[in-house]
């Protein structure tokens, strides 16, 4: 029963060709007859073969690297980035692919990575031109035509969250997180659209996505008389801050105000069963890696939205008269 992983020899034998040919199929060398290529690929798929990264490394005399470029230099520490990076690592590490954190400024990189993941690129981001010029395959996290990209369905998720609140009977809503980033805008857009459709009022409160940012924004707003019974925050962290602020103000959550977050971070510092819209970070990461492969091979660019999912926690209650 203790079968060992198949090697290139197994594939060669099983498909009646030489290891050289299998290797050529593996590396997309064009000098393989298509009939042969298909046969070999079938066998590879059937036997679930994957080339040993260490052996390739040894033979190539160099390993593969994947760069991650963040929009600014600091967000490396934000929980979402950390989780995303970790999800990537789960796939790349066993493949011997080394992750490199890239500063926002890509120019004068001593050694170019084999490919780059660009986080949250804005329109006309200089990083994109740079990579294009250098011929480095790139995949964006966030959506942008003419590129490989993958992103969570921010608009849809925001609608989902907002509908969850209106569905529970809330009519006075607030969106926490107004801001210039594509993500913030998409989420605000979805929230406003859903509120409009449901005939509910919604007010936007400016805030970054941090815990303290959410706390201060909500506390200030509430103290200055802003009122709502349902709050949708653009991030779980600001949602956590919002809950804390409301508690400190003597407002019961979810008794008086219901709160929904976004991201689905599993482990927030604050202990709280937050109702939230969860992103499928592992899936975003693995999709990104698939796209990287496609980009390297030179397929035409495409993008993909990854579905989000509502997680029912303990921070939403029906408004008197509404159902949850």
């Amino acid at each position: 029963m203790k079968s060992t992983r198949p090697t290139i020899d197994d594939i060669a034998r099983e498909s009646g060709v030489s290891t050289g040919t299998v290797s050529r199929v593996l590396n997309g060398h064009s000098t393989v007859a298509s009939r042969t290529r298909e046969r070999v690929q079938d066998v590879i798929a059937r036997l679930g073969y994957a080339p040993d990264p260490a052996a390739r490394h040894l033979s190539w005399r160099t390993g593969q690297t994947l760069g991650i470029s963040f929009e600014r230099d600091d967000p490396v520490l934000h929980p979402y980035s950390v989780l995303f990076r970790r999800a990537l690592e789960a796939h790349t590490a066993p493949q011997g692919v080394q992750l490199m954190d890239l500063r926002a400024d890509l120019s004068r990189l001593t050694r170019l990575p084999s490919a780059v993941l660009v986080m949250h690129a804005m329109d006309g981001d200089p990083r994109l031109n740079f990579l294009r010029d250098r011929g480095v395959p790139a995949v964006l996290i966030g959506h942008q035509p003419d590129f490989f990209w993958v992103a969570p369905d921010d608009v849809g998720g925001a609608e989902l969250a907002t509908r969850h609140l209106t569905g529970a009977g809330h009519r006075q809503l607030a969106f926490l997180g107004q801001g210039p980033s594509q993500v913030a805008q998409d989420r605000e857009r979805g929230a406003l659209a859903a509120a409009l459709t449901a005939g509910a009022q919604i007010i936007s409160i400016a805030s970054d996505f941090t815990v303290l940012g959410g706390y201060r924004a909500v506390r200030r707003a509430w103290e200055s008389g802003v009122r709502f019974t349902g709050l949708f925050a653009q991030s779980d962290e600001s949602a956590a801050g919002a809950v804390a602020a409301l508690q400190d103000l003597g407002v019961n959550v979810p008794g008086q105000v219901s709160v929904v977050g976004f991201d689905g971070l599993p482990e927030l510092p604050i202990n709280l069963r937050l109702t939230t819209v969860a992103q499928d970070i592992p899936r975003i990461a693995s999709t990104a890696l698939t796209l990287v492969q496609e980009a390297i091979v030179g397929l035409p660019p495409r993008g993909e939205f990854i579905e989000v999912q509502l997680i029912r926690g303990a921070t939403v209650a029906p408004f008197p008269g509404g159902k949850i």
Copy 2:
């Protein structure tokens, strides 16, 4: 000029032995005459040779793994953990050593790592026995006799921070962070000792090490009448929260209250030139890895404190009459 990395053959030739012998030296096999061993080691050092991880991996049929066990399951997301992990990665990734995040509960690990880094072990931590029983080399981050360990000088750092405040003339101090962990206790101990020595008053305010935790604790304390002109926080994050709280209360920092943090996190979410006691995280990480090697080879356990350093930011001002 484009010399290539030396290989095991270079070492063998240069020291007049066979590759087999070099390899045996490399792996600490006892069957090498000590004179030969030394000669080979000299050459290795002189030529700056390091075995190619990919080649070893191929030959061993398996790679090396280094586990990191956190004290609880969540702190994986805390900035300090992230930075520490990243510092480790900078060394391990090029070596082909794979980092594994370990849950606090180590039992029923499907595959044991080659060695484990244990973060913040408490006295009699069950993880330590587990590892000892399984014969897995372990290095602790934090200090504990009879083990390999490395830790920042928490007590000394706290003294440094506190003396910085008393030196600036402050006599009414507060320590933010009182808690049960070894780290919190060491830092509190250092702070109390230094305050005592300087003849200053100091009060402890309980708080976790998060931004919001610091914010709420300080705000509550201040609102209930607690007063101080110098605050030493056990973490940069809680220090940042404290500063925010004081600002919100209309207290000027550093005009009315001076604040010192701990950790030296380079990029806090809050924008702030914090005066802080910086840990040398890269050095802690590389020391930990050195100790891992020693533990694997079977040397006797030892520990090391890593110096900390005061970073003068913009959150400390002299108390009228004091000098800074």
